[in-house]
Symmetry: C2
Subunit: 277 residues, 2 copies
């Protein structure tokens, strides 16, 4: 129950209507006896920089979860950010250090990475193809690179977008082998759909499935249904898979650790969450 | 449960540890199916003006409850305040109008007034003695004046404080009869202890009880115990009384109405509240 000792995690974005974090974190905080609350804050772009600064003057703020449309601008508003933030060009977690500096990280991609690692995929030196270089694709590419990937394939229908992501990757991780502008899944240990394909009924599949080996691990970011047409087709070929919502739940422990709270498993969080898909 | 549609009431003060509002409002919101939450925000004086401004740029802010040490400065930060705020020199409730203006009111004293009115005291043309011209005494004097009081007695050991309150009262309510610098309760329909006397064991009583008529209604602001020594002595003389916490609970419906929420009774709020005295 909220009282005068409650710490705030500000969940800042606009609009707030589709926010899921309060229904994941707050039941966990309650169940764990952690006196903290995720509070949705609807902040428009023109007032967001001031709001972020002001909210971090609060004595009982523990951190902020940043979401659309503020993830990119946040990179420029902080005192320190991680290489993951630099590669992705986006930041979705902010905290204040003891000496008052605002530091940021990005855990969208970390959720994906933790998920596939827990399913047994070794990313050290591995080859991954990320199809889609938008926000979520950039986040996943950044976290894969941070996990020691050897070869990164990037594809986007907007070729400039893939090139920019590739350049940011190379500047932070010079030793990574980069392959641009092909979405042929052959030869990859991991293939990720980070496009919106699958959000709508009848969308084409993001890659040519005939070129997909059964040894390849397949991940998805679309959460409209657990088993998208892409995952169903990959599973039919014998591939191991990861559903979109795994990325969501696997990233929460990373945030809890970043904010300094006791951590837990994605399964425990999922069992407590009060979401309706 | 907090979700993306939840409205915020920012409860702003410093420190936050003794905040009671979250444990009164939030159980009521939950029980009534109102998707709103009172969020404690610990804001220091040097950053409070910016914080207040920023918090009201949020799309899902419904209002703010302002408490120590910001009630006085808030008067100067708003676009419009009520006569009650002007008299008391303090503001503890802020909302944003449809056209974006910040308006403020003060309901500390309104809680006291609603309480004694519901207990049958008619304040129109009545005579009231308010002992103590600090924050709570000023708030009660302001709300009594707004309720049509005829004569107001003001006493404070700090005579300048009583004089300043008297001057503010006269400027907003020129027709009120003012009596300063005596705490003789004789001839009053209502006597209020708005001093801290009673907070500590062995405090002297705020007035000379021998001069108190059984016809006089006696109110208290101290909440350390329900029946303070002052109330016990007044009841022994046959006076009707009002305990300190009545002021607390009677003011909540006034805030609910100010913020535009469905209102309720002090009793209902008290039955739901999760406070420990």
């Amino acid at each position: 129950m909220i009282n005068g000792h409650t710490e705030i995690i500000a969940h800042i974005g606009y609009p707030t209507h589709s926010f899921k974090a309060p229904m994941i974190y707050n039941p966990y905080f309650e169940a764990s006896g952690i006196n903290a609350v995720v509070v949705p804050m609807g902040s428009k772009p023109e007032t967001y920089p001031d709001l972020l600064r002001s909210v971090f003057t609060l004595e009982n703020i523990r951190g902020a979860l940043i979401t659309m449309p503020h993830k990119m601008i946040t990179v420029d508003l902080l005192d320190e950010v991680t290489p993951t933030v630099r590669v992705a060009g986006a930041c979705n977690a902010v905290k204040r250090t003891a000496d008052g500096r605002l530091v940021g990280d990005l855990f969208d991609g970390e959720g994906f990475v933790r998920g596939v690692q827990r399913k047994g995929l070794d990313l050290k030196g591995a080859r991954a193809l990320v199809v889609g270089s938008g926000g979520v694709g950039s986040a996943i590419a950044a976290s894969l690179a941070a996990s020691g990937l050897g070869t990164m394939g990037l594809f986007d229908v907007n070729t400039a977008s893939a090139e920019r992501l590739g350049a940011r990757l190379k500047s932070q991780y010079p030793s990574i082998a980069l392959k641009l502008h092909t979405k042929d899944p052959q030869g990859y240990d991991l293939v990720v759909n980070a496009t919106p394909l699958g959000m709508n009924e009848g969308d084409p599949l993001p890659i040519d499935m005939d070129r997909l080996s059964s040894d390849t691990f397949v991940g998805e970011v679309v959460m409209r249904t657990e088993m998208t047409a892409f995952l169903t087709a990959a599973q039919a070929r014998g591939c191991r898979i990861q559903v979109g919502s795994d990325m969501l739940f696997e990233q929460i422990p990373a945030y809890l650790e970043f904010f300094g709270y006791p951590t837990t498993t994605a399964e425990h969080l999922r069992s407590l969450a009060r979401l309706s898909y």
